[in-house]
């Protein structure tokens, strides 16, 4: 099972409500997977600075005095906004690697959830309603976002096994399904120098996309080659800085419903997730085709490409 929701706003006046709309959609999908939940929000950019969303199981200790300690290590400006077990660090773009290295030293229990200029990822073990309340997702604004509620099959129920997974700067992935060749692919990717943290199958899918893009593929190309190289069942929704994409495996037994109006493009594992969206009764509602990559972007026209 697992439940996925996604919302891409065309009407900018809805942006303040993005978090509230996504939260409502995700809670509707709770009975598709109650193990853990997560949300990726593409909010405002912070004046060219990079954002690192980090997590700790002991936030009181780890985030206490973190700002000053990190500042000293990287010798640059650091801003920090703590939100429950997560914190968003804002640093200069060219100091991201130094900051990550410093974090490993001074706060070894802190894990990086996402990196980018507008993306923030919040995820924890628990029901969607509890996870959303913990981070007050309803109050978050943004241009687009993705949510996931997990029914674990391939690996343990942990924060790091929750979705979305960060695949690169401002990119993230959520998955409904299970990959059957993740062990061999993980070994291969590790040999290629890709860092993979857990035994989770989706993390391997995310790492695969990262690896393909590091070797020059666009996200669209990486998704198309995933249809060849990933064995198993998947409906993927990917977030990028200016949009989101959808791809289903050729068998396409994992459900997917989409709706489009002048105001938004929405994705749900089921139609139930979409019923409270404004104007849904008049929306164009359809199921994405198998083995076809779809993209909606704020900067380009939307596309769909059928893989050969």
């Amino acid at each position: 099972m697992c439940g996925i929701v996604g919302l891409f706003l065309k009407d900018r006046s809805l942006e303040p409500q993005l978090g509230a709309m996504l939260t409502d959609m995700l809670i509707t999908m709770t009975d598709r997977g109650p193990d853990s939940a997560g949300i990726a929000i593409y909010g405002s950019e912070s004046n060219g600075k990079a954002k690192l969303t980090v997590q700790s199981d002991t936030p009181d200790q780890d985030f206490d005095k973190l700002k000053g300690a990190l500042k000293k290590e990287i010798k640059g400006d650091v801003d920090i906004v703590v939100n429950s077990t997560h914190a968003v660090l804002e640093i200069r773009d060219d100091q991201v690697s130094a900051a990550r290295a410093a974090l490993r030293e001074i706060r070894p229990n802190v894990r990086v959830m996402s990196r980018g200029t507008s993306l923030e990822i919040y995820k924890e073990v628990g029901l969607p309603k509890d996870v959303a309340a913990r981070f007050n997702v309803s109050s978050m604004a943004g241009s687009h976002g993705i949510g996931h509620t997990r029914m674990a099959t391939e690996s343990a129920v942990t924060t790091m096994g929750a979705h979305p997974f960060n695949t690169g700067d401002d990119q993230c992935l959520v998955h409904n399904g299970s990959l059957s060749n993740h062990n061999s692919l993980r070994r291969k990717l590790r040999r290629e120098g890709i860092h993979i943290e857990t035994e989770n199958d989706t993390e391997v899918g995310a790492a695969y996309l990262t690896w393909r893009m590091q070797n020059g593929a666009t996200l669209g190309q990486a998704l198309e080659s995933s249809l060849e190289d990933l064995d198993g069942f998947f409906t993927f929704v990917v977030g990028t800085k200016d949009g989101f994409g959808v791809v289903r495996d050729p068998i396409a037994c994992k459900p997917a419903v989409m709706a489009e109006t002048d105001q938004y493009v929405a994705f749900g594992s089921e139609y139930r997730a979409l019923v409270n969206l404004p104007g849904i009764d008049a929306a164009r509602v359809w199921e994405p085709e198998p083995a076809t990559v779809y993209f909606w972007s704020h900067s380009n026209n939307s596309t769909s490409e059928k893989a050969a």
């Binding site: 396409a252 037994c253 459900p255 089921e270 139609y271 139930r272 979409l274 509602v285 359809w286 199921e287």
Partner: protein
């Protein structure tokens, strides 16, 4: 006309009320409001009643239906009409995957498109789709008829037995052991009747019939690659 508001009384109460209708009920017309994609609406009915569902439905609407007529004024989710025994289900919009799976009898009509695995393992149900159907439709179909006024996707009728498929448009590919067959007068007659029953207008002579080549009925090691 009796009206049930699903958002107010909940699914169990709706289905319990419909299950309570006997063969000789005089409350024969029911409307369900606020479907909102809920699962298992009007499942397991067994009375000659007519149920109209306002809005789109989720998983398994009209599953195991006997006698009843169910109209969905919206689109229908996965597994609609699964294991239908008799009666009729009419979907005004589109139908999701595995429509009418393992259905033994009755009629399912889709005014829009049906998704993948339409009529999978059908065992006597008749399914008429005004639009197109997706891949792997009628996989292992044993009996009954799948009538498609539009196009069929990949692997139509894979490993089928005696189910019959009539497609007016193109077929992207045929599944293992499914082949094109001649249209005989009895098939034209059948199409006339089923299209009339479905309330759809199409010329029976424009359809092509497909069915089993009957080479994979019994396991033969020489055919291992084809299974």
């Amino acid at each position: 006309m009796q009206t049930l508001d699903l958002s107010e009384i909940g699914l169990r109460e709706v289905n319990k009320t419909l299950h309570a209708q006997a063969e000789n009920t005089n409350q024969t017309a029911w409307t369900i409001e606020n479907a909102r994609g809920s699962h298992a609406i009007a499942c397991g009915l067994d009375a000659p009643i007519e149920v109209t569902v306002k809005g789109s439905t989720g998983y398994y609407c009209g599953g195991m239906n006997q006698q009843a007529t169910i109209n969905v004024h919206g689109s229908a989710g996965p597994g609609t009409g699964e294991n239908i025994m008799s009666g009729k289900i009419v979907i005004e919009g589109d139908a999701s995957q595995y429509l009418g799976a393992t259905g033994h009898g009755g009629l399912i009509v889709v005014k829009g498109n049906a998704s993948s695995r339409c009529g999978i393992s059908m065992k006597g149900v008749n399914i008429v789709v005004q639009g197109n159907i997706g891949h792997m439709s009628a996989f292992m179909g044993q009996s009954g008829n799948l009538v498609v006024l539009g196009d069929a996707g990949d692997a139509l009728g894979d490993s089928c037995y005696e189910a019959r498929f009539f497609v007016r448009g193109s077929v992207k590919s045929l599944g293992a052991d499914c082949e094109k067959k001649e249209m005989r007068p009895e098939h034209i007659e059948f199409l006339k009747e089923i299209l009339a029953e479905a309330g759809l207008d199409a010329d029976p002579s424009e359809f092509t019939r497909y069915g089993s080549a009957r080479n994979l009925y019994n396991f033969d090691v020489d055919n291992a690659g084809a299974y």
